[in-house]
């Protein structure tokens, strides 16, 4: 009975969380639209002046890799192997933190070059979109700290699995948004 109860409850939560991700998608879609409306080659400075390929490539590599390393953890969840779970989480956590670091560095570089939030509307929409995404990654890393804590604390393993699975959906979603950012925000002006 308890298993059935927990799985019904989990399915509710999962459906609710998927719907929440739809809400997030609409929010990001609106920000992408804002970026399209306000960005063109004619703006000064233009995206080509501002963006630097190196930072985008490194950060993309780091974040995509973090989605892959989370699969180690996923395997740990199915095999009930705490070792794999921790291994996957730790690597993903470090990569997530690394991504946030690269983003902050990128923003600082731009600002030092004089490309700030208020320089023009293209930069405003860029910072708001990419900044909100970076905030999501940061939120995810804090979420992982909470998961570590809960794994160490003695909670029922089946419940822990549910909590971490929900986190996986979040992390892959945030990764997907980053792919969209690379395709729609950087790629037309970099590659």
């Amino acid at each position: 009975m308890s298993n059935e109860k927990s799985s019904e409850h989990y399915n509710d939560k999962r459906l609710g969380f998927f719907i929440y991700l739809i809400v997030e998608s609409v929010m990001f879609a609106t920000l992408f639209a804002t970026y399209f409306v306000f960005t063109s080659e004619q703006s000064t400075p233009s995206p080509t002046d501002v963006f630097e390929a190196k930072s985008v490539i490194i950060s993309s590599f780091v974040l995509v890799l973090s989605s892959a390393t989370l699969l180690i953890s996923e395997k740990g969840l199915s095999n009930k192997s705490p070792r794999l779970i921790v291994l996957g989480l730790v690597i993903t956590f470090l990569l997530g933190l690394g991504f946030v670091g690269i983003e902050i560095r990128e923003f600082f570089t731009y600002i030092n070059e004089g490309y700030t939030l208020t320089t023009n509307v293209f930069l405003s929409s860029f910072y708001v979109l990419v900044g909100l995404h970076a905030a999501h990654v940061l939120f995810g890393t804090i979420w992982m700290i909470l998961l570590f804590y809960q794994l160490m604390a003695n909670i029922p393993f089946s419940l822990y699995v549910e909590k971490q699975r929900i986190f996986h959906y979040y992390w892959h979603f945030v990764d997907l948004i980053w792919v969209c950012i690379v395709i729609f925000v950087y790629k037309p002006y970099l590659f």
Binding site: M1, S2, E4, K5, S6, E8, H9, N11, D12, K13, L15, G16, I19, Y20, I22, V23, E24, V26, M27, T30, L31, T34, V37, F38, L117, T118, N120, V121, S124, S125, V128, I142, W143, L146, Q150, I155, P156, L159, K163
Partner: protein, 638 residues
């Protein structure tokens, strides 16, 4: 009035001083009354509850409270406009701008939304045989976020900086260049927070309806109010996030120096697009649940199954879907070009088709039925001609060339009040009278209810019918006065008298509430001889309804079981249900969000950081504390 305040002169208008004085007098009286009646335990119980009926009741209670506020705004507007070149109290120029801005915003976000969400909360779980919403805790969070947003918004008036850019907050007027005072910051944060609460409600409703229906109740036999809730929730999912981002960008413009919506660098038209991509679906978000209420009420009081059930569901879905393709009809005069205007004119005209189907189906439901003219039924009957009139002016407005004449005149004001009051407010009244027994266990007095209905509907038409003619005469919206020779005086005077009549009808509702709770006995499960599952549980609904879970095999199953003199058959496998818990966390979250909004509005950086971190800390706190409650429940279950 001018005050010396730490050496600087501060001018405070006398309406705000009166409001402060009134509050300072009333607040101790209310607190004293609660203490005297020993109601503090009750207040506490509601603050920590996660039960859907109690939360729904609170939504309705505060919806009514803000209805009074928005209604007073309306009466002040009508008094200022009663005679030409009027100079009523302080409500000219910018004070008048504040008046109509708060009236519109309060009525849409803090009256229509909570009243409908309140009814959904009370009714939907009972109607589909769920023991509560899927996420009771999230439901409490939604309510308290709504309240935090509403309080932030209403505080602006007391701080002498009410929003003054209209409920649509059109840019560039709403940017800091033209409205530098804190007013529109209050608008941004008030709506942002309550809007997020609404999104969570939508998620909750969808999961509840998809996964918590009684055994046997397929979507194809689900009652229409639940259907309208489901479709409304989908509209909220798409519309409200767009509003969130629009407000987010406007916040950047006002507080962090960006120029998204400024003329020149940015695009004021982009604000209009974003706002109406939210705003037009919002009209359907507040109309569709009302349609659902009317379907229930008309079917019950005609003693007949709803006519054309599949067509009713389909037209709800069609209206919802097409609601996203009409937003630019608010922007015909912007200059989007003939192609865009034609497209949006045609989609707007098309949306009248599913709406018309619904109207005919309600009429056919009544045809041949045994109609009883109860108060809820009267409101439903009043809705049909009223809404048809609003629909006809809607089709008139959808013709883009004609709209160039109608745009921003009182014709539009008349139209929007015919559809919004005609659907939402009449629907909410019908719903409150109809489901009052499920909320409180008592049935409202029918005689006073009928007085309420007749005075309201007469006052309503008296107020808004003349506005069509004032509009055709060219009277513009949002202007605080007019001249004698313009042929507007008679129309405006009649409107003002009608508005006070409509306002006075609310006194009958107040008297009704008082008398009902003073004298009436509690009623049984099924005072109206209803058709759906909510009438099988006791009134008021218990915290754990459906101890025996019914098996539902057809639409209006309860009605047909009653006809056969049988009980509904009992289902033997029921899914585990959420249990309502007691928690103070949503209230704390609400308080923190309130403080965070204030710190942003006044740019108190230290408070921003503290409250921001505190809001974030609610996530781990909830995650860590919910575990215990879950384990306890599971142990209890075994």
């Amino acid at each position: 009035m001018i005050f010396d305040f730490w050496g600087s002169h501060v001018t405070v208008p006398s309406d705000i001083i009166s409001a402060w004085i009134l509050t300072i007098i009333l607040a101790p009286i209310v607190l004293f009354w609660i203490s005297k009646k020993k109601k503090w335990p009750l207040v506490r119980e509601y603050m920590i509850t996660t039960n859907h009926r109690k939360i729904g009741t609170m939504y309705i209670l505060f919806g009514v409270l803000f209805f009074i506020r928005g209604g007073i705004d309306a009466l002040l507007i009508r008094t200022q406009l009663a005679v030409p070149e009027n100079d009523f109290w302080v409500f000219q120029n910018d004070k008048y701008n504040e008046l109509f801005s708060t009236h519109g915003t309060v009525m849409i976000f803090f009256v229509a939304m909570p009243l409908l969400i309140g009814l959904m909360n009370v009714v939907v779980p009972l109607q589909i045989g769920a023991r509560d919403l899927a996420f009771p805790y999230l439901n409490a969070v939604s309510f308290w976020m709504f309240l935090a947003g509403a309080l932030v918004f209403n505080l602006s008036f007391f701080m002498n900086s009410a929003p003054n850019a209209g409920w649509t907050a059109y840019a560039p007027l709403s940017t800091d260049t033209y409205t530098p005072s804190a007013g529109n910051d209050y608008y941004i944060f008030g709506i942002q927070i309550s809007g997020l609460g609404t999104i969570f409600t939508a998620i909750n409703m969808i999961v509840t309806i998809f996964r918590h229906r009684a055994p046997g109740m397929k979507l194809t036999i689900m009652p229409l109010f639940s259907w309208s809730t489901l479709i409304t929730s989908f509209l909220i999912l798409v519309a409200f996030p767009v509003l969130s981002i629009a407000l987010f960008l406007l916040m950047f413009d006002r507080m962090f120096g960006t120029g998204f919506f400024h003329g020149g660098v940015g695009s004021p038209i982009y604000w209009q697009h974003l706002f109406w991509i939210f705003g037009h679906p919002e009209v359907y978000i507040i109309a569709l649940p009302a349609f659902g209420i009317f379907s229930e009420v008309i079917s019950t009081f005609s003693r007949k199954r709803i006519f054309g059930y599949p067509a009713m569901v389909l037209s709800l879905a069609l209206i919802g879907f097409m609601g996203f393709m009409v937003w630019s009809h608010h922007m015909f005069t912007v200059g989007l070009g003939p192609l865009a205007n034609t497209f949006f004119a045609i989609t707007t005209m098309l949306i009248a088709v599913p709406t018309g189907i619904k109207i005919f189906n309600w009429l056919f439901t009544m045809k041949g039925g045994v109609i009883s003219f109860t108060t809820p039924m009267l409101f439903a009957l009043g809705f049909i001609p009223t809404f048809v009139m609003g629909g006809v002016t809607g089709v008139m407005l959808s013709a883009a060339p004609a709209d160039f004449q109608f745009h921003d005149t009182y014709f539009v004001v008349a139209h929007l009040h015919y559809v919004i009051i005609g659907a939402t407010i009449l629907g909410v009244f019908a719903g409150i009278y109809y489901w009052y027994p499920k909320m409180t266990g008592k049935q409202l007095n029918e005689k006073l209810g009928k007085w309420h209905f007749w005075i309201f509907i007469i006052g309503f038409h008296m107020t808004f019918l003349p506005m069509h003619f004032a509009g055709l005469q060219g009277m513009p919206r949002r202007v605080y006065t007019y001249q004698l020779g313009e042929g507007l005086f008679e129309f405006n005077l009649i409107s003002t008298i009608g508005a006070f009549l409509m306002g006075s009808s609310m006194l009958f509702l107040a008297l009704n509430l008082y008398k009902t709770h003073k004298h009436s006995p509690n009623v049984g499960n099924d005072p109206w001889d209803g058709r759906t599952l909510e009438w099988t549980v006791s009134s008021p609904s218990p915290e754990q309804p459906f101890k025996k879970m019914p098996y539902v095999s057809e639409l209006d199953a309860y009605w047909y079981a009653k006809l056969e003199n049988e009980d509904l058959s009992e289902a033997n496998d029921t899914r585990p249900a959420p249990v309502s818990i007691k928690t103070i966390q949503p209230v704390i979250l609400s308080g923190l969000l309130f403080a965070m909004s204030i710190s942003f509005i006044y740019q108190w950086v230290w408070l921003m950081i503290i409250t921001g971190l505190a809001v974030l800390s609610i996530f781990p706190i909830r995650s860590l504390t919910s575990r215990n409650e879950y384990v306890e429940k599971r142990v209890k279950h075994e």
